[in-house]
Structures are given as C-alpha cells and as structure tokens.
Symmetry: C2
Subunit: 245 residues, 2 copies
C-alpha cells in the first residue's frame, strides 16, 4: 500500500509520501511516489501517487513526454506551460483516463485492480495555491477551506491527528509537524507503509520549493519527532483520569 498526505494552509502547501510498494505481502519494493515539477519563480508542482503502480508510472511518463515535447514545440501543452493549476489537474486527469482506457480491462481480467489516485499540489505565478485529488476516472476535487487536507492510500491510521490539528490558519511549521506525526502513526500500525519518506513544502507566493527532501530511516530529526510524540502520548495517557473507579 501507500500513504500520501497533502495539506493546504494559508501559508502554503505541505506534501508527504512513503515509499513502500507491494504486490502481495511477500513482494515488497521501494518506489518514489512524490514527483516535483517547477519553473523557478513561475510555478512549483508536486504530484503524489497511490494505487496501481503501472498506471501511475504511465501517467507520469505521459506528463513528462509532454514537457519534453513542449521544449521543442511551445504550442504543445504541458503541466509546466499550461495556463492554470486547474488545467494542471485536468492534464493529470486526462493522462489518467488514457491509461485506464488502455489497460483497465486487461488488468482486471488478470484479477488485479487498476484503481489509482493522484494528489496534485502547487501554485503558478498569478494564481492561488491549489490542492487537487484526481481519481481513477480522471475527475478531480479541490481542497477547500473546510477540508484543508487530502490523504490517499492507508489514510485511516493517520487521520485522527490531522482532524484535530489542521485548519487553514495552521502555520506551515505545524502543518509539516502534523503530516510527519500522521505518517509516524501510520508507519507504526501498518506494515505496508514504509520509510524512507519524501517531503515537499511550497511556501505561498514563492513559486519554488522551500523543502524537497528525502527523510531516511536514520534521520535524526524524524526520530526525535517520533520519540517525542511517543513520550507525549504516553504522558498524556497517564495523566488522563481513570474511568474504572
């Protein structure tokens, strides 16, 4: 499985994904699920993928080919030259549609699932920061003020902390802490989600990545956060009143 989470707060966008992929319990591999695209000072975009890996890799290949082709022929539309973030989501959705159209029936004939979903987060100069969730059918929804985060993959373990912490006015620092804590809970409770992690932070109106880093299993800051959270939970739990009289 997979766990990807993206948050849109007033100050910017935070995206975090794990790297574990499995085809059955005995076939575990490591694949990057976060992909970044940028034109410095003009736009910065992160995609995060879950679901059938052949489908999402195909979508990525199509988007990449359009970017390459557009360098030779500027009339060709790509996620790096299209007009708006909304159009970026459409292009991702269109590529998803094409992959599903081509492979879905044969994948399902083999008894596998072809579903996939992709989070699209970013901002282009002249537009607002946007966060979209693109479904298998190519349709998509946008994160709003009421729902400032999206999760794909194994989302349930890490949802309670996001429900409690993340609001649109949450700082970028707290949003980053929140997605890391959310991931930490998921890593502890579900073997199909695994280190290392890929973290991207896009500050509002900067049109570039403030953070674009891989967090390895031995990363000291993440370990401190994880241990600190464990200790805080334990302490908080101990301090709770006893219900059993």
């Amino acid at each position: 499985m997979t766990y990807c989470v993206a948050v849109r707060v007033d100050q910017g966008l935070v995206m975090l994904s794990d790297t574990r992929t499995n085809a059955g319990m005995d076939n575990i591999a490591r694949f990057r699920k976060s992909f970044t695209y940028s034109v410095a000072g003009e736009r910065a975009i992160t995609l995060m993928c879950s679901g059938n890996l052949s489908i999402t890799q195909g979508v990525k290949a199509m988007l990449g080919r359009a970017i390459k082709d557009s360098q030779l022929d500027p009339d060709i539309e790509s996620i790096l030259n299209c007009a708006t973030m909304h159009r970026v989501a459409q292009l991702v959705g269109d590529a998803m549609c094409e992959m599903q159209h081509h492979y879905r029936s044969t994948i399902e004939m083999q008894g596998s699932g072809a579903d996939a979903s992709i989070l699209v987060a970013g901002q282009r100069r002249g537009g607002k920061q946007r966060l979209y969730l693109v479904y298998s059918a190519g349709n998509f929804i946008e994160a709003t003020e009421d729902t400032p985060f999206f999760q794909i993959g194994e989302h349930k373990y890490g949802k309670p902390i996001l429900d409690r912490i993340v609001r649109r006015e949450t700082t970028l620092e707290d949003a980053t802490k929140a997605v890391l804590v959310s991931m930490d809970s998921t890593l502890r409770s579900n073997l199909s989600v695994g280190m290392p992690l890929d973290l991207t932070v896009i500050e509002r109106d900067q049109f570039d990545f403030r953070v674009r880093t891989r967090i390895e299993a031995d990363n000291e800051e993440f370990q401190l956060l994880s241990l600190g959270w464990s200790a805080a939970l334990r302490k908080g739990f101990e301090d709770l009143p006893n219900v059993l009289g």
Copy 2:
C-alpha cells in the same frame, strides 16, 4: 459500520463497542452490539458483533435458544453450560456457520455482504480468561501474549493508541482508558461509528462483570476523558520540535 475492541491483560478482560448500524449513508440506526451472559460465580462472557446484522442477530438467537432449551433439558449444550471457553467459541462459530449456510448465497444474490465477525471474551471457573475472534466461516483465533487485543469493524483509526499502550501487563484501569481513547479517536474520524457505547469489564478469577454499562453521549466521565485527550494531544504536539527550520 461498527467499532468493537476487546483487550485481554493479565488482570482481566475489557470490551467496548459502539452502537451505530447503517445500511447506506442515509439509513442509520442504533443497535446494541455487546451481549453479556453469565452464571454468577461460575462464568462471565461478553460477545461483540460486527458485519451483517441479520447474520449476527441470527447467531445470537440460536445461542439464546440453546440456553433456554438447556434449562429444561440439561443435556442440551449452550455457552452457559459447556465445558470450556474454547467450546464457547466453537458454539458461536457453529451458529455462525449455520447462519452463513442458510443465508449467504441469497444475501449475496441481492448484492449485499454476508460477512460478520464476533469477539468472544470471558472466563469460566477452572479455566483461564480467553479472548477469541470468530470469523464468517466459523473458524476462530485466540488472542495471545503477543497480541493482547482484537478489533473488529472500523479498526484503523483507533489502532495506533492500542499499539503504543496495550501490553499483557497493562493494568485493567489503563486497558479501560486505552479502549475508550481508541474509541474516541474513531468516533471523531468516522461518522459510521457512533455513541452510545457499551463497556464490559471482567476481572480475572471473579467470574462476574466488574463493569457492564452503557455510556451515553452526555456521560460526564467520557466527555472529560475525551477533552483531556484532546488537550494532551494538542499540548504534546505543540511541544514537539519543529522540523521545518
């Protein structure tokens, strides 16, 4: 959906269930999912059910009929007169099998799911305290020292706190707090799980219920626990080091 959680620690057994049942998002009802059976000073048993309601109600009816019949004819075996807790789990599994055999194919023809699972927890005089999970096929597994808790239904939201807190040496007080906190996280993140709750506590070697109570939405102790946990999480989160430098 449903969320039921049962913990077996050295000091005893703790069982907690919600009461929300739904057939689609627009058809929500309230049904008890915890059922208790006892012969004072000899045995105390709690069953908790999830899955297809007609199946689990049918299982419960069969178990109840055997108890009634055995009062007239002591040769008839029931969960209140059978030899061991292991045999109790077998009887529950046998009833499950019979219900599945009778209804599964017709239920599935209608496009519904017939799956169900039942947690069986208790102790009889002369035996150890036991916790079993009975599947749709009537087969079952037992909680061991390595895995001192079972969850059925919407289990993911509330798993992280159990993973961190519950060990076989956890006190009965802490185990009770832990299942309530686990339920609180689930209630906040999933609409298909709802108040009121049914809590049962069986202390080791007492062969009776120490607690057998319904916790309503306005229960002050539960509200305090819930608020306390919220505050502890928030405080713990604030105290975590910033990762975004």
